[in-house]
Amino acid sequence: MAHKRLLGLATVAILAAGACSSSATPVPTTAPTTAPTTATAPTTAPTTAGKPYISIVSKGFQHQFWQAVKKGAEDEAAKEGATVNFIGPNTESDVQPQLDMLSAELAKKPAALCFAALDSKAAGPTLQKFQDAKIPVIAFDSGVDSTIPLTTVSTDNVAAAALAADKMAAAIGGSGKVGVIIHDQTSRTGIDRGTGFLNEMKAKYPNITIIGPQYGGGDVAKSADLAKSMIAANPDIKGFFGGNEGSIEGVINAVTELHKNGKLTLIGYDSGQPQLDAINGGTELGAITQNPIGIGAQCVVYAMKAISGGTGFPAHVDTGFMWYDKTNINDPTIQAVLYK
């Protein structure tokens, strides 16, 4: 008996410890890493009286990009009087844990779901249950390949990558070799950024030769190795386009290790401290930034619209993108969407 009591007590104690420490924080669902200025959305209970509860199941929660989406959603929810719970699996290969998260959220009977699928088809049957329960679904980021979502809130990555191509062509004088390193050829964002950049080059700049694209999985070390081998094979290469944060950081590392800082034109995507440093220091020309805070905010806006019985949803909500470089990196509009 003593054993049982001991274990029982210990279990409860440890859980209580976890619970206390989390409820001691004003916002249990806000990560310690989010900016201290985050509005304190009361997200303690699944069903706070009177306030609609919106579940946001993301593709991750640890990366700063997702934390920015979360902040945008929580700020908007505070404004509109809603409660949000932002969650996502530990890694982007955790397809199965993401389904478990969806099921748990469904059991809480949310007023709406915002969802970024790791694998649309795998999530299909679970998403169907949301529709059966008449819970409106808003897709975001990479979207959901299904007719269930009322709308998809994301960046127009094809147009954004085309803008990167224009900037590259202008910087290298419309001719020469450009290396392209993308995170993968399977995700929606990987496909759109790769084809957006390549098609723009093909259509407008016939004198530019594309080397690649090569795929580095968004891994800094792997992307750096790819960039080095591309430079070794093409000593006359003039620049690189990196399709996401990890890809361009890899290129920056490669260029730094080869002591070619400033000699090549580098164009990246998103932000993050190493990239911001490279742009300020002159190693990188500039980058495309999405608007993760806007993605989070628009998710909540459209979820609220669906909850209040709104109709006439656009198929796609473009949250926009911006070009930033040394000249405008400190503009308030740019600073608002950059993350470190």
């Binding site: 054993h3 274990l7 279990t11 389904l99 099921s103 809480k108």
Partner: protein, 341 residues
């Protein structure tokens, strides 16, 4: 389940074994109940309800796959070894099933068999590396972890393979036996029934067969087993093969649940499986453990994971709590052992 009374082979396993088993089950089971009640109290405080049939079903589904991985892992850990490859062996089994059914157009049952056997082959490789080439289990299975992980990506060219349409595979695994619905849309999902049947089967092997007895013998005192004429190497190979077969089954079920073979998934599952086994009272130093304990351990892990999400605890804290519970569970198990000694 593991008791084999009257069988003299493992030294020091007589009446005390039954008592130990009793405590082990009692402890783990008590902890599981305490955990569920704890979440219920929490839910009541925030104005909701944890004890719903829907939550029960969700936890069953979430537990099933890792539960099955943990069954095989229990055998290996009782021998005093460890198998780090179960997660990615699960993945390659899922991939092989998908290849068989989609690109080779083989019938579904054949595809399932190929998946399970793929797991067995990987387990056999683990066993041969450990028993024949004398490579430490930690290293051998770490190697196979990466071999399986890489091969899954190579075979699929890093893309998921989708099962075209529903050929009875997905609905069979995720549906309910005879379509019986207990509450609203929910019945006991077949994937959970499969886990329980697999657990009964594992308990039978461990408790009633020669393989089970030698599994304990290897973990209690390998040298003594060898001296009493047991072909230690062969039995060890068999134990790892059995573990691989369970991983293969888990792979087939994961494929059915996801409607696809996801080549990048699976890495990391091995540590959850080991946690479940250890929380269930199986000793990492070998010679001791039960299947019932493992099943309860797996449920403790997933009740915790699901419950913390259900009450909206921040994710970063969920990870901290899960780690702390593992440590507490093992510490209490140690206390029990020390008292007995």
């Amino acid at each position: 389940m593991s008791k084999a009374p009257g069988l003299p082979i493992p030294a020091g396993r007589s009446g005390a074994v039954i008592r130990a088993d009793f405590f082990q089950r009692f402890l783990a089971f008590g902890a599981l109940i305490a955990l569920i009640l704890f979440f219920q109290v929490w839910c009541v405080l925030i104005g909701t309800n944890f004890l719903t049939f829907e939550n029960f079903v969700n936890i069953l589904v979430a537990t099933a796959v890792v539960g099955i991985l943990a069954l095989g892992e229990t055998f290996v850990i009782i021998t005093g070894g460890i198998d780090l490859s179960v997660g990615t062996v699960m993945t390659i089994s899922m991939v092989m099933t998908a290849v068989a059914i989609t690109s080779q157009h083989l019938p579904v049952p054949v595809g399932i068999l190929i998946g399970v056997l793929t797991g067995g082959v990987m387990g056999l490789a683990n066993g041969l590396l450990i028993a024949r080439l004398r490579i430490a289990p930690f290293i051998a299975t770490l190697g196979i972890l990466n071999v399986a992980r890489g091969l899954s990506l190579v075979i699929t060219q890093t893309r998921p393979i989708y099962f075209a349409g529903d050929n009875g595979f997905q609905s069979g695994v995720m549906g309910n036996l005879f379509g019986v619905k207990i509450s609203g849309e929910f019945g006991i999902p077949n994937i959970a029934i499969i886990m329980f049947v697999a657990a009964l089967f594992a308990a039978f092997i461990l408790g009633k067969t020669v393989l089970g007895r030698y599994t304990f013998a290897l973990g209690s005192n390998e040298e003594a087993a060898r001296l009493s004429g047991v072909n230690v190497a062969n039995w060890k190979v068999l134990v790892y093969t059995v573990c691989g077969l369970f991983a293969g089954l888990a792979g087939v079920l994961t494929g059915a649940r996801l409607g696809s073979a996801q080549p990048a998934t699976g890495f990391g599952y091995e540590l959850v499986a080991v946690s479940a086994v250890v929380i269930g009272g199986t000793s990492l130093s070998g010679g001791e453990g039960t299947i019932l304990g493992t099943v309860i351990g797996a449920f403790i892990v997933y009740v915790l994971t699901y419950g913390l999400q259900f009450v909206n605890v921040a994710q970063e804290w969920q990870i901290v709590v899960t780690g702390a519970v593992l440590i507490v569970a093992v510490y209490i198990d140690n206390l029990r052992r020390r008292q007995r000694a």
